[in-house]
Structures are given as C-alpha cells and as structure tokens.
C-alpha cells in the first residue's frame, strides 16, 4: 500500500527496492506517459527523453528480443528506427537478446538477471530499454535503480514501465522518430 508520494528516481536506492506499483505509482492511459512516477503528457516525456539522451555522457540503448529477433513484420522497421536513434544521440547498443540465465560478456550485452553488471562495467549513465517484454523490463529496471545511479528510460511495447524513470507506452516507430527529430534539432 502506498505511503505518501513515491518517486522513481536515480539510485542506488536500496538493497531490495520496492516495486513502484506497490508504492502507488500508476500507469498512464493512451496519450500520456510516466516520468519519475508521475503521469505526464506524452509530448513532454518525449522532450525529456531527448534532453536526457543529449546530456548523457555515456548513453546506451538496450534493444530486447521483440526487436532483436524477427517476431513479426513490425520488428524490422522498429529496429531500424532504434539504430537511427542510437546514431542521433551517439549511443552504444548493448542488446538483451534473450532472457536466459547464462554467463554474459558485460561489455557486449545486458541480461535481465543481473543488468547492474553491464551498467557498472560500462559506466552507463543513461540507458534506454526498447523491445523488452515488460516482465523482464520491470525486473531489470528495478535492479538497475536499486544498485546503480544510471538514469533509465523505457520505450515500452504496450503499457508503459512504472519501474523506469521515464517511459512511453505503445512506443512504436513514430514515437521513436519524434525523439530523433528533437535530438537532431537541438
């Protein structure tokens, strides 16, 4: 049950941070987004994402299985848009190619089972999750804010992520292009 207003902000927050939803953070309806636990207009969240990426020293985009693999016809154009986004903000790409419990090379990929290893190894100050199934997205993002000071952004497939510091819902190609446009204009 919520005890006052809970903010989803940069960590490290705790050994075992609470779930934002249990602390009373709610998800946005269509047309809105979520920023640091507050519902905000989607347009302002898009601007905030662009600003965070612009200001980042070491931004990293973590594309998940929904766009790393060709599940559907939507995957390829979205993957192309994400690549364009990475180029626009000079971000590295470290994929979350699957969710299996396995040894990883933290210089090359990120795992939902110990994502903080990749964040700390690469000194990532802003990361963007995109194309990650929301269960694994939330588990990983909570671990990151629990144990690192990385600023987290989620371009979520359907509902937004209440565990990210900023998240867009239904984040398809058009919304990614909006972020790219602002990045290129500023």
């Amino acid at each position: 049950m919520a005890q006052g207003k809970y903010k989803v902000v940069q960590g490290p927050e705790a050994y075992f941070p609470p779930a934002a939803a249990i602390m009373g953070v709610t998800l946005p309806d269509a047309g809105d987004a979520i920023a640091e636990g507050e519902i905000v207009p989607e347009s302002s969240a898009v601007e905030l994402i662009a600003r965070k990426l612009k200001e980042a020293k070491n931004p990293v985009i973590c594309p998940g299985p929904l766009i790393v693999w060709q599940w559907s016809d939507d995957a390829s154009p979205k993957a192309a848009a994400v690549k364009e986004l990475a180029e626009a903000c000079k971000a590295k790409i470290l994929p979350m190619q699957d969710y299996r419990a396995k040894r990883i090379n933290p210089a090359a990929e990120i795992s939902p089972n110990h994502p903080n290893v990749t964040i700390l190894h690469n000194e990532i100050d802003v990361c963007v999750f995109v194309g990650v199934h929301s269960h694994f997205e939330n588990v990983a993002l909570r671990l990151i804010r629990g144990g690192t000071n990385c600023y987290t952004i989620a371009l979520s497939e359907y509902a937004a992520s209440d565990e990210a510091m900023i998240s867009l819902r239904d984040a398809g190609v058009e919304k990614i292009k909006e972020i790219i446009k602002i990045l290129k204009e500023t």
């Binding site: 049950m1 050994y15 075992f16 609470p18 779930a19 934002a20 939803a21 249990i22 709610t26 998800l27 299985p65 693999w69 060709q70 599940w71 559907s72 699957d98 969710y99 299996r100 419990a101 396995k102 040894r103 990883i104 795992s111 939902p112 089972n113 110990h114 199934h133 929301s134 269960h135 694994f136 939330n138 588990v139 990983a140 909570r142 671990l143 629990g146 144990g147 497939e157 359907y158 509902a159 209440d162």
Partner: protein, 388 residues
C-alpha cells in the same frame, strides 16, 4: 468485430468492455454452475480440463457439453487436480485461453501449481467452489480455501451470487489478460449456496463471445519450442542457475505482486470497483464477502424493520488485490465493524484489521463452519451484543 461459426451456431466476437458493460441482457433462471458454463460459453476459451470433486463437478460437466457443441477447442479429464492445474498451465504457456475449476480438497491437492501460474505470468481463470477441507469431513460451504491462496500471487475475486459468478469470470479474462497485469485469477463462490441454487441471472445473448486471446501482448514470450526465434523461457522458469542473481529472483516475485496492483484500475472498470458500499455513513459497518454478504443484507433489512437503521454494508469483491484504501475510507465513521465469515480462521477479519486504524473496532465474527449456515439472527445478535 469478427464473425465465426462455432458448431452450427454463428457467433460474433466482441471486446470484454462491450460484452460486460454495453450489451443488453436477457433474463435466465439458472444455477451458479450453469452461470459458470454460460460465462465460459461466451469467453472464447481454447481449452478446459476437468477433474471431478463436489460441488464443482457439475460446472465442468456442463463445460464438457460446450466442448461437444464446438464452443471449446479441447477438453479432457486429467488424472487428478494437480495434473489439471499443471496441464492447464502448459496450455496457457502455449498461448491458449484456458479454464478449469475445483473445490476444497482439490484446491489443496493442486496447491503447488497456483504460485507457478502466477510466477510464470499466465492469465489463467480458475473457478473455485468453496467447501470444507478438513476432518471431520465436510462437503458443505466454507471459505477456508481462500485463506490458503491469499499469497500465491493470484488475483482473487469472491462472488456473492450466480450473477457475480458469471460477470467475474468474464471480467477475470479481461483483467488478467491486460499486458501489464497478466497473472491468474481465481474466481470463488460458496459451494452449494451459489452453485446448486437457481436464481435470476442477466445474460448477454449466447451468440456473442469475447475476442480471442492474443498471447503476443503478454509480458513474457509464449512458451513455444517450435516458434522462432529461440528457446526463450525455459531457463528462467527453472531458475536454478548461478547466473540468476537472488535479487533478480526476488524481483521477479515482486513483479507478480506489482502486476496485481496494476489490476486495480481494470477491476474498477470491469467490475465497478473492488468493493460496494451501502449506507456509508453508518456507525455499524458489516464487512463481508461471498454469501456472507447476502446474509448480512438480510440482517440489515430485519434490523431496519426493528428501527435500527444505523447499519451499513461493505461487500468485498476483490480479495487480491485487497481494497485497503477503500475499506479504510468506508469505515471511517464506523464505531463497530463486524466481519461475518464462513470459516474457522477468520481470514477476512485479519485482512480488515490490517488495513484500518483503530482496529479494536473490528469484531472478527460471527463465524460458522463445519457445514453450519449463518442465519441473519446470529449477525443481528452479534451487533446487539456490541452496539445496540
């Protein structure tokens, strides 16, 4: 909107919102078991698996009839309740919309599977027709099995009557299948009182059914070894790995509980709230779920005839997620809070006590069990003992 031919009957698929909130309904005089089958008829279920136990058996017989009529793609009788719940889990992991039901000892026999359903984020809908579970044996109505399921990670809805049972099963699919929720739901009713008595139930036309379940919206990939691109799910499900941190494993559990929290707005939308309140300013509030609500309502009617009008009622429809805030607000003016229950443990009273300030106001009873009924006079007597 799509049309499809099920058996000889042409059906039309519609959204859950249209089915539950917009479609005109027709009057039927049916049992609770028949109401369950009528819900499944309209739910576009892919697979149902049965194992008999009183008082649940009749509902799964009727659902077998639906299979014979072509309304369900697959149906069989499993070896026992554990086998039912394990197999229905597999069907759900494979991307199907599924249904099953059980009662009392069957619930306990299958117990291991319920947190597995929740942990694997499957939107399974299971009807529980509550009965006694202990020695001395009782097949009579009792709600103790709900206590065992409170912390499995499942959502738990408690129907007062056959109408609730019908609506909550359909709403259960709508809520459980939301991408940010996607956990199982147990829809409970008190055995015999609800399952074996006829009452008026308002039903949408039987040529309507819910839109098909789309497993691509799930928060995890479907468990399909033959589907590209990769064996995605198996290892994290087994989870015994040096490469899963304890923090991730714990965070996974937390995510299941978070998913239930995210269900609240959908419960409000599809079920009209987690609770219903009558006479919210009353000094005496009765908090009840299931058929204890009906008995409490009758007690309030009798007391009102006797000039005692300062008694209100809180009907708790959702046990998980639990309506802490709603109950706190609805009992703010009450000096006495009575929690009548059909079980020996008093789990609902414990939940209420944990949710409100000044919980010395809570009287954990009257409680009946072992097959006893709960006459309204017993509730009235308890109120008079403490207040009037």
């Amino acid at each position: 909107m799509n049309t499809d031919t099920v058996s000889k009957q042409k059906t039309t698929s519609i959204s859950a919102g249209e089915m539950l909130l917009k479609t005109a309904r027709n009057r039927a005089f049916i049992t609770g078991s028949e109401a369950v089958a009528e819900a499944v008829r309209r739910a576009n279920v892919d697979m149902a698996i049965a194992y008999p136990i009183t008082p649940q058996s009749e509902s799964m017989h009727l659902i077998g009839d639906l299979y014979a009529q072509g309304h369900i793609k697959d149906y069989y009788r499993a070896e026992n309740e554990f086998a039912v719940m394990a197999a229905i889990h597999g069907a759900s992991l494979g991307g199907g919309r599924v249904f099953t039901a059980t009662s009392g000892p069957g619930t306990l026999r299958a117990m291991e599977m319920f947190p597995v359903w929740a942990g694997s984020r499957q939107p399974i809908v299971c009807a529980f027709m509550c009965r006694g579970v202990a020695l001395p044996p009782s097949i009579q109505p009792e709600t103790i099995e709900i206590a065992f399921l409170l912390d499995t990670g499942m959502m738990i809805f408690h129907a007062e009557n056959a109408q609730d049972y019908f609506d909550m099963i359909l709403a259960g699919y709508a809520i459980a299948e939301q991408p940010e929720v996607h956990i199982p739901v147990g829809v409970f009713a008190d055995g015999f009182f609800v399952t074996h008595t006829r009452e008026v139930v308002m039903l949408p036309p039987d040529d309507l059914r819910l839109d098909a379940y789309n497993c691509d919206l799930a928060p995890i990939p479907p468990f399909d070894m033959e589907h590209a691109p990769i064996r995605m799910v198996r290892d994290p499900l087994l989870n015994k790995s040096n490469f899963v941190s304890y923090a991730a494993s714990g965070g996974w559990h937390l995510e299941v509980l978070a998913a239930a929290e995210r269900a609240r707005k959908h419960i409000n939308h599809y079920m009209g709230g987690l609770i219903e309140v009558e006479n919210p300013d009353a000094k005496v509030m009765i908090v009840a779920s299931g058929t204890a609500v009906s008995q409490s309502r009758e007690a309030i009617r009798v007391m009102s005839q006797q000039g005692m009008t300062d008694v209100g009622l809180i009907k708790v429809k959702s046990i998980r997620p639990f309506p802490e805030k709603e109950i706190e607000q609805a009992t703010a003016k009450a000096s006495l809070i009575l929690v009548p229950e059909f079980n020996a443990g008093g789990w609902l009273a414990r939940e209420v006590k944990a949710s409100i300030d000044n919980n010395k106001r809570v009287v954990a009873g009257p409680r009946v069990f072992g097959g006893a009924s709960l006459p309204s006079e017993v509730i009235i007597g308890e109120i008079k003992k403490h207040q009037y």
